[in-house]
């Protein structure tokens, strides 16, 4: 099983993440595949791709034992849907990695409910975060997590609307 690292398609480079991954490479499941997007990087050890087609992207996530990603909402959702606990490293505006700090907040809050493991200082704490993510991924309680309540709320709402429609149609 592999490690899949993704930087998304934001235009700002994010070398801080790839550098941290390269530093702990020896400890990660191999091969380590990096979707680098707009971050130029050359490496003798990492497999670097810039972009990939969506089906291929999802397949990489599904096959990976470890997923390390920038804190983009789309990628996080794909990873969680595939049953992974991604390690997320938020891009920061102060390093010109993104226009604002919304990734920081998202990563922190999803981390609180154990959906992701967030790490703001990957240069120091990335390996620790990877180990924690692997541990949560293997816990039985995580695997049997139920359907999010909001889905049931919307489902009930739609059923109510459907009944109203049928009622109206029946009356006319």
């Amino acid at each position: 099983m592999s490690t899949f690292v993704t930087l998304g398609n934001a235009k700002q480079p994010f070398p801080r993440l790839i550098e941290a991954v390269e530093n702990i490479m020896g400890h990660l499941p191999s091969p380590v595949i990096v979707q680098a997007g707009y971050t130029p990087w050359e490496s003798d050890f990492l497999e670097i791709l810039d972009f990939m087609e969506m089906g291929n992207f999802v397949e990489h996530i599904e096959k990976a034992r470890v997923v390390i990603t920038h804190a983009g909402a789309g990628t996080i959702i794909h990873a969680i849907k595939a049953g992974k606990v991604p390690v997320v490293v938020p891009r920061k505006a102060e390093y010109k990695e993104l226009i604002d700090n919304h990734q920081v907040e998202l990563a922190a809050c999803l981390s609180l409910i154990n959906k992701v493991v967030s790490v703001e200082k990957p240069d120091e704490k990335l390996l620790q975060a990877v180990e924690k993510a692997i541990k949560i991924q293997s816990e039985v309680s995580f695997l049997s997590d139920g359907e999010p309540p909001i889905l049931q709320l919307v489902r009930n709402l739609f059923r109510g609307y459907e009944k109203d429609l049928l009622h109206v149609e029946g009356a006319s």
């Binding site: 998202l106 999010p148 909001i150 889905l151 609307y161 459907e162």
Partner: protein, 147 residues
């Protein structure tokens, strides 16, 4: 019953598709604001409208929304954002008595989005995913995260 799912391409689309198990049992179609490589199940059921971002192209979107709504006549408009939800909500409410259902995006935790603030006024049912938003959406429903 027919559902129109309105979304920006990218993360918002990924997010609204978390609700697929809820809407796919009904007749449904998508509207996106940017071309994208579509998953199989979206092919043949997706419209594309002009990409506008807080500019005059919004008015073009109103015409595009009217054309699509008139042809499809959905009973419900569902969206998590971003901007494309607004013209469809306006047209839906003005002309077609469509029910507007909006879910504030998962990425908005402590402060609402601009689309969220507008859609709060336009929607029949408004959900938000993080409790911290309650003071901003007193008549909305807290639903927890879509994941």
């Amino acid at each position: 019953m027919k559902i129109a799912i309105i979304s920006s391409a990218g993360g918002h689309l990924t997010e609204v598709r978390c609700l697929q198990s809820v809407y796919s049992q009904y007749e449904h179609f998508y509207v996106l604001n940017h071309s994208a490589i579509l998953p199989e199940d979206m092919k043949g059921r997706t419209y594309f409208i002009t990409h506008s971002e807080r500019d005059m192209k919004f008015f073009l979107n109103l015409f595009e929304a009217f054309r699509i709504m008139k042809k499809e006549r959905p009973d419900i408009v569902l969206s998590t954002g971003a901007g494309p939800a607004v013209p469809f909500a306006i047209i839906g409410k003005l002309f077609f008595r469509t029910k507007i259902v909006f879910i504030e995006t998962i990425t908005r935790i402590s402060k609402p989005s601009l689309t969220g603030k507008i859609m709060y006024r336009l929607s029949d049912h408004f959900y938000y995913q993080w409790e911290m938003l309650k003071p901003h959406f007193p008549k909305g429903t807290y639903g927890g995260t879509v994941l």
